[in-house]
């Protein structure tokens, strides 16, 4: 039986980490020096580099620091940055977690802040040891999926296998999230047909329309010569390759980063900012997408790669699914699942999908993924802006 850590809001964590979060780049070094003392323990560094204020970043930080996998948080502030440290600290405190904020300019500078931080973490680690454990069911889990470092194999082995795993997990009651409307251009009608309600289907179409406009403004081409060389014949074929990660369940809702799925089912996450293009690319690299899944409560992320991404993530572990058998052999220590077996004809998509869903439960029960074992804890948080999701976007729990 799997057990998790029971949090005050009723959600259950599969890890019990201490986070050290810097609230501006100027506090980054001090925060990382605090963390290095605890190498080998579950003390992790995250942070926001910007000095200018941003509502999205503030909300993300709140969600991330009150994530079920998180036991305690130490904030490191320089002192003059815009990030509202009172607001974020109050949110963590209200969640029932030990929290402390150190302000470098008030604490006497680098050396004394580091010492104060390390002392606090030692006591926090002891305190969070007492958080009660409780049985954890599939319906308690939120699983995200992304693909990165894709090649021609991703769409024909790793992504379909992840999709099958999603089918198994959704059938067991888990909430599963897929995303990147910018990569699903061409799939909007198929997705709308899968929506549990027509209004949701319309919201999905509109989210893809928004993505098209956004990428058009950025001048980012969605179908390139390299895609054709790799075997993709049309933009809808390319998007389908990414799309099949979602499996075949009905789509229950459309969420934005930080929205927590209210119940089990398959959810599409709209990561493209609302309004004018203000801050550049929506997600500047794969870990930015993973962080947004985590802000929506993802306990772990299924990451399909062909060329071989090696990243993990802070807060929630990454399960690395390697679509390409050559890459799997070359980067064996970094890969959790060999979907390349599908390419080589040793196993079916169903069999690999089954292996993935079994690994999900093992990781939920405490088994570390390869990237976790290696110490990967990547984290990115940048500037965005979103309007709240509309009323058609979430399943109606009372219907």
């Amino acid at each position: 039986m799997i057990e998790g850590w029971l949090r005050q809001d009723g959600r259950k964590g599969i890890r019990n980490s201490v986070l050290v979060a810097y609230l501006v780049e100027c506090a980054h070094f001090v925060a990382s020096e605090i963390v290095t003392e605890f190498r080998g323990q579950d003390v992790q560094l995250i942070g926001f580099p910007g000095c200018f204020p941003n509502e999205y970043a503030a909300q993300m930080m709140e969600r991330l620091c009150t994530h079920p996998n998180v036991g305690a948080v130490l904030f490191v502030s320089l002192g003059c940055e815009s990030f509202d440290k009172v607001r974020v600290s109050a949110a963590v405190e209200a969640s029932g977690r030990p929290v402390r904020t150190l302000v470098i300019q008030k604490a006497g500078g680098t050396k004394s802040t580091i010492k104060l931080g390390q002392d606090w973490i030692k006591s926090a680690l002891l305190e969070i040891d007492n958080v009660s454990r409780t049985p954890l069911a599939p319906s308690d889990l939120v699983i995200g999926t992304v693909c990165g470092g894709s090649d021609g194999t991703s769409g024909i082995s790793g992504n379909p296998a992840a999709g099958r795993a999603f089918d198994f997990l959704v059938a067991e009651g888990a909430a599963c999230i897929f995303e990147e409307t910018g990569e699903l251009i061409g799939c909007e009608e198929i997705m709308a047909e899968r929506a549990v309600a027509p209004e949701l289907g319309q919201a999905i179409r509109e989210s893809v329309l928004k993505a098209e406009r956004y990428y058009q403004t950025l001048g980012y081409g969605s179908f390139a010569a390299g895609n054709a060389a790799g075997g993709l014949s049309t933009i809808e074929e390319k998007s389908l390759g990414a799309y099949v990660k979602s499996g075949s369940s009905q789509i229950s809702g459309l969420i934005k980063p930080g929205d927590i799925p209210p119940c089990g089912g398959l959810y599409l996450m709209d990561v493209v900012p609302d309004g004018d293009v203000r801050f550049g690319f929506p997600n500047i690299s794969d870990n930015a997408e993973i962080v947004e899944m985590i802000a929506s409560g993802a306990h772990m992320t299924l990451f399909v790669t062909g060329r071989g991404s090696v990243v993990g993530s802070a807060i929630s572990p990454v399960i690395k699914i390697c679509a390409n058998p050559e890459t799997y052999r070359a980067l064996f220590d970094d890969m959790d699942i060999n979907a390349g077996d599908i390419i080589e004809g040793h196993r079916t998509i169903d069999e690999v999908g089954q292996e993935i869903s079994e690994l999900v439960y093992a990781v939920a029960g405490g088994q570390q993924t390869k990237s976790e074992q290696l110490g990967h804890r990547e984290f990115i948080l940048t500037y965005k802006s979103f309007e709240p999701i509309g009323p058609a976007c979430l399943p109606n729990l009372h219907s």
Partner: protein, 103 residues
């Protein structure tokens, strides 16, 4: 070293009229299909597609059981299916939306 199954192609969905190459498949390779055996008339690179049925000009091309485009000419079983004989059937939502807009 690991053994490769005999056929270098895989069908992703029962409804598909295409097969996808798992590995580079050399010209001359014989492939078993529903309608009989065909021989590849060219090398097919990994992740590229061939037809597994007669596809008529105007027919929808299916992969993953979903439409990926429309054939622009007749395509015989075993023939390469790619940008030279398939066109996108996709009209960007941006274009449709602007077409519907009332000025």
């Amino acid at each position: 070293m690991t053994e490769l199954k005999a056929c270098p192609f895989m069908r992703l969905h029962p409804d598909d009229n295409t097969l996808v190459a798992r590995i580079n498949a050399d010209e001359g390779t014989k492939i078993d299909m529903d309608g009989g055996q065909v021989q590849l008339s060219q090398t097919i690179p990994m992740a590229h597609k061939i037809a597994c049925r007669h596809i008529k000009s105007g027919d929808v091309v299916l992969k993953y059981g979903m439409p990926i485009g429309v054939a622009t000419v007749d395509i015989a079983p075993g023939e390469h299916v790619h940008v030279h004989n398939v066109r996108s059937a996709y009209t960007p939502s941006v274009v449709l939306h602007e077409a519907d807009a009332v000025s």
